[in-house]
């Protein structure tokens, strides 16, 4: 009965570590893998209560000293540092036990930002991962994570980053072509994918023409494209401005089928211009036709 735990030596049948820690008469493994089965063989006779206590899990077993106590797979599955107590009628033995995450990834928590961004932006897309095992324990041993950014045209950026304390991150450039890219993080045979929309950037330039239309002037842009050649999306606002004498008229026009057009009053000597965002187009001085 005395020091019942001391008789546990050599009787722990573990799938994981078989190292033992001694703390007085208590002998328990230093470490086991989460969810693995194990058995305790105690000596002596009579009843005792076995407690395995941690913030993430608690177990209690009424055991018969001198018999084997089997913990089935999945009994102790939360990684953590546990206090082990064996309480008999007249003593309490204490020890500590580490339960480590399993080494096989089961889930990748993947944070990818942003979901939509302009094309051709350096380090514009970021991804961070945390790697978990089947019991939702963070796997803190280093593991390689493959990040892939796949464009609809088939071009691919790949980076391999090793986790540290269970996390890893990357930054990638948005590609020069608009479309929905697949951003994937893969660890072992587990992966997680996010869609990153790449949209045209600001117009690279604005070229406007003017022609008479009755008593008005018809102003029209050429199709607007960004500096990578992608068509600027319909709905983008182009601002036309007409300045004459001391007056000024301004009209905001959304792009339709890539171009913007508007009729403005024909004032002799008026200065006509177009702009979108921070991009200025050409200027035209209107002379009486």
């Amino acid at each position: 009965m005395r020091s019942a735990f001391s008789a546990l030596a050599g009787s722990l049948l573990l799938a994981a570590s078989c190292l033992f820690a001694q703390n007085g008469g208590v002998q328990v493994p230093q470490s086991i893998e989460a969810g693995s089965s194990f058995s305790l063989q105690s000596a002596g006779s009579g009843k005792a209560a076995l407690y395995i206590v941690g913030p993430n899990q608690v177990l209690k077993r009424e055991i018969e000293l001198g018999q084997s106590t089997f913990f089935a797979p999945g009994s102790l599955y939360n990684a953590g540092h546990y206090l082990v107590l064996l309480k008999t009628d007249n003593s309490t033995e204490k020890s500590e036990l580490n339960v480590t995450a399993t080494s096989k990834p089961s889930e990748v928590s993947f944070l990818a930002r942003p979901s939509r961004l302009p094309v051709d932006l350096h380090d514009g897309i970021t991804g961070a991962v945390y790697v978990f095992d089947v019991y939702n324990n963070l796997i803190t041993v280093p593991a390689p994570v493959t990040f892939e950014l796949l464009n609809p045209s088939g071009t691919k950026q790949t980076q391999v980053v090793t986790t540290h304390n269970g996390s890893a991150f990357t930054a990638m450039d948005s590609t020069r072509q608009q479309g929905a890219d697949k951003f994937t993080a893969r660890v072992g045979d587990v992966d997680s994918t996010r869609i990153v929309g790449q949209v045209p950037g600001d117009p690279c330039g604005i070229k406007m023409s003017a022609k008479p239309a009755g008593r008005q002037i018809l102003l029209e842009t050429e199709p607007l494209r960004d500096c990578s050649g992608n068509t600027v999306p319909d709905g983008t606002i182009v601002t036309f401005t007409e300045s004459y004498a001391d007056a000024q008229a301004t009209v905001d026009v959304p792009l339709k089928r890539g171009v913007a057009q508007v009729d403005m009053p024909a004032h002799n000597g008026a200065l006509l211009s177009a702009a979108s965002g921070v991009v200025l187009g050409n200027q035209i001085r209107w002379e009486k036709q």
Binding site: S31, A49, Y51, V53, G54, P55, N56, Q57, V58, L59, K60, N78, A79, G80, H81, L83, L85, K87, T92, K94, E96, N98, T100, A101, L111, A112, R113, D123, T126, G127, A128, Y130, F132, N136, N137, L138, T140, H164, N165, G166, S167, F169, A171
Partner: protein, 169 residues
């Protein structure tokens, strides 16, 4: 970069000397240099101090919840996996007639990762704490423990909450 991080550590030490007394009772709190901080996002000193403050508060919630077997006490400071696991522990304890008392004595904290999009912060904490176990009101035993925790926090409406809370061997 190195200079600013060292400045951050000094500021955090100053701030935490003030907050430690409130947040972790008599627990000693030491903030380690974050010169090896991973991530492309700059960690502002104010962010760091708030994160550590909220993390230290979580030890109070943990302690109260496991002492009173009230899972709802975890809601202030825990979310996701950490909340689920500790909530399960509270239920297991209640079923078994157990209560546990956690008293943190000292923390040695290092922020190791700030994710680029700002939605998670990871820290390590070498903690010394005492655990006492009671079974149906009778003290079974207590032990001084020493463990290195890995903690991931995420921002919520008003505070950073602990999403991952486990030890590292």
């Amino acid at each position: 970069m190195l200079k600013s991080l060292l400045a951050l550590v000094i500021l955090m030490n100053t701030l935490m000397n003030a907050t430690a007394g409130q947040a972790a009772a008599q627990a000693n709190v030491r903030i380690e240099s974050s010169v090896s901080l991973k991530g492309s996002r700059v960690l502002e000193p104010q962010t760091a101090s708030v994160v550590i403050h909220d993390y230290l508060q979580s030890w109070h919630s943990l302690s109260a919840a496991l002492e009173q077997n009230r899972a709802n006490l975890l809601d202030t400071d825990f979310v996701g996996t950490a909340r689920d696991k500790m909530g399960d522990t509270v239920r297991e304890q209640a079923t078994l007639g157990l209560t546990t008392h956690y008293h943190d004595r000292s923390h040695d904290i290092q922020i190791v990762f700030y994710s680029p999009e700002g939605l998670s912060i990871e820290l390590t904490d070498t903690v010394e704490y005492e655990v006492q176990v009671e079974d149906h009101g009778a003290v079974i035993g207590s032990q001084q423990m020493h463990a290195r925790y890995v903690v991931v926090l995420t921002p919520t409406e008003a505070r950073w909450k602990v999403r991952v809370f486990q030890t590292q061997s």
